[in-house]
Symmetry: C2
DNA sequence: CAACTCCTTAGCCATTTATCTAATTAGATA
DNA sequence: TATCTAATTAGATAAATGGCTAAGGAGTTG
C-alpha cells in the first residue's frame, strides 16, 4: 500500500513550520541553530521537523565539524533542470517593488511542489518497472514512463565514451533481453547518437524532458 | 500570508481516509452513504472529511433529491485536458494481469496531484495579476503566467462569435488599457484568429497548454 | 580528558483531529 | 402533516502532533 507514502509526503508539507523551513532552505543550506533562530524555535523543535522532512525525502543534511547543514533534496533541485529550478534555487534578490509580484514565497512553494511531484512520479515508475536486481521488468508502453526508464538506464552509461554496438548490446542486456528495441529507443529519443557503428551518449541537455509532458 | 493556503491544501491530502475518498471519486461521483459504506465509516465521518476536501477545492457536490453526490473538482478534471485526464477519469477496467502495473491507484493519485498542482499555479497567478474588480494589474512577463492570464480572459469571450476589431478593443479595455498588446497576444498565442478586420475565438483545442510547460 | 558546540532524545503538556453516537435539519413523498 | 431518507451538526473521546525543557550524545578543540 503506497497510499501510506503519499499521505506521509503530504503530512510532511502539512505544517507551516516545515514549509517555512523549506522556504528558508530554498535560498541555500542552513544549519540547525540558524533555522531555530530564524523561526524563533528551539533547536529541539527543528530536529523534530527536520526528521519528518527527511523521512519525506525533502531535505538532506551534511555534517561539517559540529554543525549539521540542511538543504533541499538534491534531486528535487536538479532533476527538473527546468524553469522551476530558477524559481527555487539560490536567489538573493529580496528587493522588489513590493507590489503585486510579492508572493515570491508562493512561487517557491509552487516550484518545490512541482519538483516533488515529478520526483514522485519518477520514483513510482521506477518502482513499477525495475526489479530489485535493477533489471527492467518490461518496457513501458506509455511514452512518459518510457522516457523515465530510458533516462534511468542512460544515466548508467559513461558520458563521452564511445560504445561499439556490441558493447551497447551487452550493456542493455544486463537490464533487458530486448536490446534491439532499447538501443533503437535510445537513438530515437535522443539519449544517444550513432556514428558508423559507434554509439555515444548525447549531452544531458539533449535528453528529452519527460517532466514537461502533461 | 498565503502560506496558510498551501498548508491547508496539504493538510487536506494528509489523511489516508481523504485520499481514499478521492481515489473512489476518481471513478465517478458518489453519494455520502455509498462513500461511508465503501470506506466502512459513518456518514458523519464522511461529512467531516468532505468538508475539508471541499475547503481545499478538491471536490464538488451536487444535490439530487435527498442525495448529495460528491465528485472531483471539475477544473481539476478538465483543465489539464492532457494525458493526466485519461488516468484519473472514469476508468472501469479493473482487470489487469495484476502484475507490475498494479498500482493504478498510485497513478490516479499521481494524476490528481499533478492536476491540483496546476490548478494551484493557475489560482496563484490569477491572484497575483487580477484585482478584485477582475481587471488585469499588469501583463505577466513570464511566458507561462502570461498564458494563464490570456486563457482567463479568452474564456470570457463568446466562442463562435465574430468580433470586429472595435469590439475586441472594447472587450480588452475592460481589463487592461493596453488593448493593442493583448490583442496581438491573443493572435500570437493562438487564442484567436483574424480574418480581415474580424476576430474570432479559436476552438479550445487550439489554445496553448501552459500546463505542459515545465 | 575537560570543556565546548551543536544536535538529538526523552518526556511533558496543550492543541488538533479522526472517529463515533445521538440529535437535528433539509428535502421528498405519501 | 407525518414520515422517510440522506446529510449535517454537536458533543465526546482517544490518538496524533507541535512545541517546550532538560538531559544525553557526537565530535571538536584546548
Amino acid at each position: 500500500m503506497q497510499l501510506e507514502k503519499v499521505v506521509a509526503y503530504h503530512k510532511a508539507l502539512a505544517d507551516a513550520t516545515r514549509v517555512r523551513m523549506l522556504i528558508l532552505l530554498a535560498d541555500g543550506e542552513l544549519n540547525g541553530m540558524t533555522l531555530a533562530e530564524r523561526l524563533s524555535l528551539t533547536p529541539a523543535t527543528i530536529t523534530h521537523h527536520a526528521t519528518k522532512l527527511r523521512e519525506a525525502g525533502l531535505i538532506q543534511e551534511r555534517r561539517d565539524k559540529n554543525t549539521i547543514y540542511f538543504s533541499l533534496n538534491n534531486y528535487l533541485l536538479h532533476a527538473g533542470a527546468g524553469a522551476a529550478e530558477e524559481l527555487i534555487s539560490r536567489r538573493h534578490s529580496h528587493s522588489d517593488k513590493g507590489g503585486q509580484e510579492m508572493d515570491e514565497e508562493g512561487q517557491k512553494l509552487q516550484a518545490l511542489e512541482q519538483e516533488a511531484a515529478k520526483e514522485k512520479f519518477r520514483a513510482s515508475v521506477l518502482r513499477s518497472f525495475i526489479d530489485k536486481e535493477g533489471r527492467l521488468k518490461s518496457i513501458p508502453a506509455q511514452f512518459k514512463k518510457k522516457l523515465v526508464v530510458l533516462e534511468h538506464l542512460a544515466q548508467k552509461l559513461e558520458p563521452g565514451r564511445a560504445y561499439p554496438e556490441k558493447e551497447i548490446n551487452e550493456f542493455i542486456v544486463q537490464f533487458h533481453p530486448d536490446f534491439a528495441t532499447l538501443r533503437r529507443e535510445f537513438i530515437m529519443q535522443q539519449f544517444m547518437f550513432r556514428q558508423k557503428e559507434v554509439y555515444e551518449l548525447n549531452p544531458v541537455e539533449m535528453w528529452p524532458r519527460w517532466t514537461q509532458l502533461s
